[in-house]
């Protein structure tokens, strides 16, 4: 029985040879539907792209009669800001930190929401299921400042966990200032906050899977694990691919907010990432140029990675997000 959700790659050709205009005549409604979205794209996304030129200028917001005019009137400096970024002695280190921390996060945290969604799906008791789902989804709504407060009282050197350790005769672990464990702290707290949230998306995909497939498999004698492997996972595949490609694509955009709130000078070596470094460089300056240059750099990398990852998925798994 063919899995209903297997067909993702658009390769189906329409029945008769369609010219554009005849297609349009038949399906003009589809084009109309696109209009609001396009309006938004053009007005709010594409028009402001002009602001990317700030990355190549010595932007002074008062140079013109309004900030946009000021872009035109500001002096062109080419790649100077990028040079300042890359030539800095710290750049390689913060780049490595960014990649390592995000790499850990993807490696350890990516599979968990999938597993959670599958497990939640197995729970028959409706109230228990809802309770679990809601519980794991709540931490997402706390801002990082509050999450810091919660985990400091838990894992601070004189917090609950360490007090227990000391009582049992062990050494206290300074989670927040020990370079050996700090990255783990970052990964763990991000997981705590976001696993429930990511599970929601996978759960939605699971509900789309035809339940009669499971029955048929059960009748054929397949055990639970087999069912999961052959039915659930393939059913989740398009969603997994989408999430993975995007997460990899955005590998340079770490949770800036999280690290800014959690880190301190003693763990810079392992936790200082590109964005926090640039933030400190620009303290007190409201330097739009540097920030825009960094943003542009991140965007270009993300674009290359997304297109690249998608091509790999297309070749290997025959799935693509477009």
């Amino acid at each position: 029985m063919e899995s209903v959700t297997a067909r993702i790659k658009p390769g189906i050709k329409p029945r008769k040879p369609y010219g554009f205009f005849s297609y349009f005549k038949d399906h003009y409604l589809l084009y109309l539907m696109l209009i609001p979205g396009l309006f938004f794209l053009i007005v709010y996304k594409f028009l402001p792209l002009y602001g990317l030129t700030i990355a190549f200028k010595d932007y002074s917001i008062f140079a013109g009669s309004n900030p946009i005019d000021a872009i035109t009137k500001s002096e062109w400096v080419g790649f100077e800001h990028f040079k300042r970024l890359f030539a800095s002695s710290q750049f390689v280190k913060v780049l490595m930190n960014t990649l390592i921390i995000n790499g850990y996060k993807i490696l350890f945290l990516f599979p968990i929401p999938i597993i959670c969604a599958i497990m939640l799906n197995e729970i028959r008791h409706v109230a228990y299921k809802k309770l679990c789902q809601t519980s794991i989804y709540v931490p997402y709504f706390f801002s990082w400042v509050i999450v810091f407060g919660i985990f400091y009282s838990l894992l601070g050197t004189y917090g609950i966990v360490n007090n227990a350790l000391a009582a049992l005769g062990y050494e206290r672990i300074s989670f927040f200032s020990d370079t050996k464990v700090f990255r783990g702290l970052l990964v763990f707290t991000e997981g705590w906050k976001e696993i429930g949230w990511n599970t929601v998306i996978y759960l939605a995909a699971i509900t789309a899977i035809d339940p009669t497939l499971y029955e048929a498999a059960r009748v054929d004698g397949a055990g639970k694990l087999r069912q999961i492997w052959h039915i659930t996972l393939p059913g989740l595949a398009p969603t997994i691919v989408l999430m993975l490609i995007l997460k990899v694509g955005y590998i340079l955009e770490t949770s800036f907010e999280q690290i800014l709130v959690f880190y301190n000078a003693t763990v810079y070596d392992v936790a200082d990432v590109i964005q926090t470094y640039v933030y400190r460089m620009g303290l007190g300056q409201a330097d739009f140029s540097l920030g825009t240059a960094l943003g542009l750099f991140n965007s270009v990398v993300a674009f290359i990675l997304i297109v690249g990852a998608n091509t790999v998925c297309k070749k290997l798994l025959h799935r693509s997000i477009w």
Binding site: I8, P10, G11, Y23, H27, L29, L30, M33, L34, P36, G37, L38, L41, Y44, L47, P48, Y50, L52, P67, I68, I115, I118, M119, E122, R124, H125, V126, Y128, K130, C132, Q133, T134, S135, I136, V138, P139, F141, F142, S143, I146, I150, F151, S153, V200, A204, A208, I209, G223, K224, L225, P238, L246, G249, F288, G291, T292, S299, F303, I306, W322
Partner: protein, 300 residues
């Protein structure tokens, strides 16, 4: 629908592997749920306990000697309610608008034969990744004349590209045969979308609606940039202001003889109150997570 499912599964005895997996699932998820909830319960309990119990370290997961002074103070003496109202309006209207636009975009792009599909999708990918910076975005908002209005708070999330891709993915997975038969019967594209595709997609639509609602609810940055009046403060802005100005706030409190109110307490109370709407939404959304309504309408 639910009971029918139950009937089917109850009829077939669960095999051993199924029992094991189910047990593991219950335990694992229960454990995760506890890990998520306990730290929060701890903070919340502190907010409702009396000051002496808190410092004595007596509060674990349930309020000791409960007092509601903090909650009362937050509701009466701060701009909390107005901020809540603003957030509710923006989230409510915004989610509806976003869902309409998203569905309208995802559907055409999910049709394999749609002419110009690649171009539009590319446009979305590019605009997802590249961002012009806050200055031009601010100027767009200002030029449109919507600074300090609810619309300015809705505009940034008019479409969230990720959400649109999720919906598009889902639409692509639906059996074409159902739509085909409808088209043969003479239904227009819009009719098909509304009467057939959407009902079949309830789980994903409910989920994406939730995603949007949360985006709107949690947004802080755009709210601060696009509004200036104190009356347009949203809930997140209020929370951040409170957290950042705790020193001066506490001065007022101590002098005003609110002895049981302290900074952490206020923050905890505010956070708890702000969670209520959004957490209450989730079980509501779960109603739509029903299995496989797709099959049944297509034979052969």
């Amino acid at each position: 629908m639910q009971s029918k499912e139950k009937q089917i599964t109850n009829k077939i005895a669960l095999s051993k592997s199924e029992k094991v997996i189910m047990a593991v699932s219950y335990i694992f998820m229960g454990f995760l749920a506890l890990c998520s909830i306990l730290p929060i319960l701890h903070v919340v309990s502190k907010s409702f306990s009396s000051a002496s119990a808190v410092t004595a370290g007596k509060v674990l997961f349930w309020p000791v000697k409960p007092q509601f002074e903090t909650m009362k103070y937050v509701l009466e003496e701060t701009p909390f309610l107005n901020a809540m109202k603003n957030s509710l309006i923006v989230t409510g209207v915004g989610t509806v608008v976003s869902m309409l636009v998203t569905i309208g975009t995802a559907y055409p792009l999910s049709k394999p034969g749609f002419k110009g599909r690649k171009i539009f999708i590319m446009a979305y990918i590019v605009s997802m990744v590249f961002f012009g910076g806050i200055v031009p975005a601010y100027m767009v908002v200002r030029t449109l004349g919507i600074i300090d209005t609810y619309f300015a708070l809705i505009l940034p999330f008019f479409i969230v590209h990720f959400n649109m891709f999720v919906v598009k993915n889902y639409f692509e997975g639906l059996p074409e045969s159902v739509e085909e038969s409808a088209r043969i019967d003479g239904a227009s594209d819009l009719r098909i979308l509304v009467s057939i595709v959407c009902p079949m997609s309830k789980p994903v639509l409910a989920t994406v609606a939730l995603l949007y609602a949360v985006n709107y609810w949690n947004n802080y940055f755009h709210a601060t940039m696009y509004t200036t009046s104190t009356t347009m403060q949203t809930l997140q802005v209020f929370i951040y202001n409170t957290i950042n100005n705790t020193q001066t706030l506490v001065e007022r409190l101590v002098i005003g003889n609110y002895t049981n109110v302290s900074i952490d307490r206020i923050i905890a109370a505010v956070v708890v109150l702000s969670l209520i709407p959004i957490v209450a939404m989730y079980p509501f959304v779960q109603r739509f997570m029903i299995h496989g309504i797709t099959i049944g309408s297509v034979k052969g």
